[in-house]
C-alpha cells in the first residue's frame, strides 16, 4: 500500500462529514490529522486503531513535531512489538477538539473565517468516535482488527465497541472507565477554572492576541498531573527532597523537588497544547457515561456484542481505579461478551499505561495473537 498516499506519517485530510454531534449540532467540514504504521493487507482487515488520551496525539511512534520527543507509545508500536507493524496497519487519529491538526477550537470557523474559540461546538467521546468512523470510511477500512486505548483512549475504545459493534473485532481498554466519577469531574473543573480565571484567556478569543492563558493552562496541567501519579510513586521519586538547595528558603520558590517538577510539567505543556482544547476535551470526558443512553444499565451498551474485550487496570491508579474496570467486566459478563481482565501491579499510578510495563506488553501481544485463532 506504499503507493496509497492516504497512509503513512503526518497525514491530514478535510472531509465533508458531517459529524452529527450529541449536542444536536453538525460539524462540517472536519479536519483529520493522523498517522499510520505498517501496511494494510489486501482484505483490509488488519488495521488497529489507537485512541489517544486527553493530551495525547497521533505521534504514537514517530517524533513529535513540537517537542522533538520520540513517539509516546514507542514501546508498544513497531516491528515485533505488541502492536506489530509487520502484521498490523496501526492507525492513530488526533481526536476531535484537539490541537494537533484535527478540527478543534483553534481551527478556522467557516462561518467567520476566524478561529472558532468558544464557538466550537461542545463534543463528546461518542462524537470523537463517530468522526473517526468517517475517516475510516475514507480509508476504506470497514472492520478493525482491534481498537485500543488507555485512559480517554479506553473510553473511545468502549464507545467504538458499543456504537459500531460490527466494525470492531476486538477492543483493549487500559486504565479506563465507563463513566466519569464526581471526583474525576471535580479535578477537571479545577483545571478549567484555572484556565478561565487567567485574564489572558479572554473568553477563549486569544488566538489573534499576543497573550494566551499559559499560566492557567500550566496550573490545570499541574493539578491533573498529580492525579496521574500514585502517592507511592511521588514519594519514591521526590520524597521531601529540596530542589538545588541546602535548606528551606522561607519563601515561595520551588523549595521542594516535587514543586519544581510540577512547575516544569506545567510550563512545557503549554508549548504543545491549546488551552481551549483542554476545556473541550475535559468536558467531553466529564460528559462520558456509557450507560446513560441505556437507562443506566451498562450491560445493554454491549448486548449481543461479538467483540472480544481485554481490560487492564493498575493497582496504584486512583484516577480510574480497578473497581471501574471491574464494573465494565461485570457488564460484559452480563452481556455474555468474551472478556478478559487483569489488574497489573505498578508503582506508577495512572501513567503506568504509558510506561514500559513488560506484563502489559505480554498480555496485549497474547490477546492480539489469539485473534488469529478465532
Amino acid at each position: 500500500m506504499s503507493e496509497d498516499d492516504r497512509f503513512g506519517l503526518d497525514k491530514g485530510i478535510r472531509l465533508m462529514g458531517p459529524v452529527k454531534l450529541d449536542s444536536g449540532a453538525e460539524l462540517v467540514p472536519v479536519d483529520f490529522a493522523y498517522e499510520s504504521y505498517g501496511a494494510l493487507n489486501e482484505a483490509r482487515d488488519n488495521a488497529i486503531l489507537i485512541c489517544h488520551a486527553l493530551t495525547g496525539d497521533q505521534y504514537v511512534a514517530s517524533q513529535h513535531p513540537a517537542t522533538g520527543k520520540p513517539g509516546w507509545w514507542l514501546n508498544m508500536v513497531g516491528p515485533g512489538k505488541p502492536l506489530d507493524t509487520d502484521r498490523f496497519c496501526v492507525i492513530c487519529i488526533n481526536v476531535l477538539g484537539s490541537c494537533m491538526g484535527s478540527s478543534g477550537p483553534a481551527s478556522i470557523n467557516p462561518a467567520t473565517n476566524n478561529p472558532y474559540g468558544m464557538a466550537f461546538p461542545v463534543i463528546t467521546i461518542a462524537d470523537m468516535v463517530r468522526a473517526q468512523a468517517i475517516l475510516l470510511d475514507h480509508l476504506e477500512i470497514e472492520r478493525l482488527a482491534c481498537v485500543i486505548g488507555g485512559s480517554m483512549g479506553g473510553m473511545q475504545a468502549l464507545s467504538w465497541a458499543s456504537l459500531f459493534p460490527d466494525r470492531v473485532k476486538s477492543a483493549i481498554v487500559i486504565a479506563s472507565t465507563a463513566r466519569h466519577s464526581a471526583q474525576n469531574i471535580a479535578f477537571h473543573e479545577v483545571g478549567r477554572q484555572a484556565i478561565m480565571a487567567d485574564p489572558n484567556w479572554q473568553g477563549g478569543d486569544y488566538y489573534g492576541s499576543d497573550n494566551s492563558p499559559a499560566k492557567g493552562l500550566a496550573v490545570a496541567r499541574m493539578a491533573a498531573h498529580i492525579t496521574y501519579m500514585s502517592e507511592e510513586g511521588l514519594t519514591g521519586k521526590f520524597g521531601r527532597n529540596l530542589q538545588d538547595r541546602e535548606a528551606k528558603s522561607f519563601g515561595f520558590d520551588a523549595d521542594f523537588q516535587v514543586e519544581s517538577y510540577l512547575r516544569h510539567q506545567g510550563s512545557t505543556f503549554v508549548d504543545r497544547f491549546d488551552a481551549n482544547s483542554y476545556l473541550y476535551i475535559t468536558r467531553a470526558m466529564d460528559y462520558f457515561d456509557l450507560a446513560e443512553a441505556h437507562n443506566g444499565v451498562l450491560a445493554k451498551a454491549f448486548s449481543g456484542s461479538k467483540t472480544r474485550f481485554c481490560l487492564i487496570s493498575f493497582d496504584s491508579d486512583w484516577l480510574y481505579p480497578t473497581a471501574e474496570s471491574r464494573r465494565i467486566v461485570h457488564a460484559l459478563n452480563a452481556a455474555g461478551a468474551a472478556a478478559s481482565f487483569v489488574e497489573l501491579s505498578s508503582p506508577f499510578g495512572h501513567d503506568a499505561f504509558l510506561l514500559e510495563t513488560p506484563e502489559m506488553n505480554r498480555v496485549i501481544a497474547g490477546f492480539l495473537s489469539a485473534g488469529d485463532i478465532g
Partner: protein, 197 residues
C-alpha cells in the same frame, strides 16, 4: 498438548463439543485451552492470581481476574452449559455459596477436590499427630490455601441436604479409579458431575 491433570482429563472427556464453559479457578487456562483446541468449546475463565490470568490471556483465552467468593454473583443464570470448579472448592471462604452459584450459572457443574479422608491423610493425622503434609496436600498448616477441608462423604451429605443431583462421579486413587463404595477411604481426589434438581 501437555498432559492435563487427571481430574481435568476426566472433566475434559465428559464435556460435549461446541458448548459454553465457565472454568472457575482456571489457573493458567490449561483445561480451557484443551477444550478450545480439541472440542471447539467457547470457554471463559475466572482466576484470582494475576500472573495466571496474564498467562491465560497470553494464550488467547478469555479470563477475568476475580474471586469466586465475590464475583460469581455477576454471572446470569444458566449462561453456560457447564460451570467447572476444579481443586478450588476447598480454598473458598463459603464453599456452599460458591456451589450454589455454580449450579445457577451452569446447566451442569463439575466439581473436583482433594479428599481429606483418604487413608494416607488419616494415617498421617492419626499417627503423626500433626496436620498432614502429603503428595496431594503438600502445603503446611500455616501456608495452605485450603481453608475448608472436605471429604467425599462430607460432600455427598452436603449434596443430599440440598437436593443436588449427582449425575456422575469419579474417584482417583494412586494410579487408577477407586470404587464408589470405598472412595472416601481410598480416593485421593474426587470429581463430581452435578445439576440442580
Amino acid at each position: 498438548m501437555t498432559a492435563l491433570r487427571p481430574d481435568l482429563t476426566i472433566i475434559a472427556n465428559n464435556i460435549q463439543a461446541g458448548t459454553r464453559v465457565l472454568d472457575v479457578g482456571c489457573g493458567d487456562g490449561a483445561l480451557m485451552a484443551a477444550l478450545r483446541d480439541e472440542k471447539q468449546v467457547d470457554a471463559r475463565g475466572l482466576e484470582i492470581d494475576a500472573a495466571n490470568v496474564s498467562a491465560a490471556v497470553a494464550r488467547g483465552l478469555s479470563v477475568i481476574q476475580g474471586d469466586a467468593d465475590t464475583d460469581l454473583a455477576d454471572y446470569p443464570d444458566d449462561s453456560f452449559d457447564y460451570a467447572i470448579l476444579s481443586q478450588t472448592l476447598q480454598t473458598t471462604r463459603r464453599p456452599d455459596i460458591v456451589l450454589e452459584h455454580l449450579l445457577r450459572i451452569g446447566k451442569e457443574a463439575f466439581v473436583s477436590f482433594p479428599n481429606f479422608a483418604q487413608w494416607r491423610i488419616r494415617f498421617a493425622h492419626m499417627f503423626g499427630g500433626r496436620m498432614p503434609v502429603t503428595k496431594q496436600l503438600p502445603d503446611r498448616w500455616y501456608d495452605t490455601p485450603n481453608i475448608h477441608h472436605v471429604t467425599i462423604d462430607d460432600f455427598r451429605a452436603f449434596l443430599k441436604e440440598r437436593d443436588v443431583v449427582i449425575e456422575n462421579s469419579w474417584f482417583l486413587g494412586g494410579k487408577q479409579q477407586a470404587t464408589k463404595r470405598l472412595a472416601n477411604l481410598l480416593a485421593a481426589h474426587a470429581v463430581f458431575k452435578l445439576r440442580k434438581s
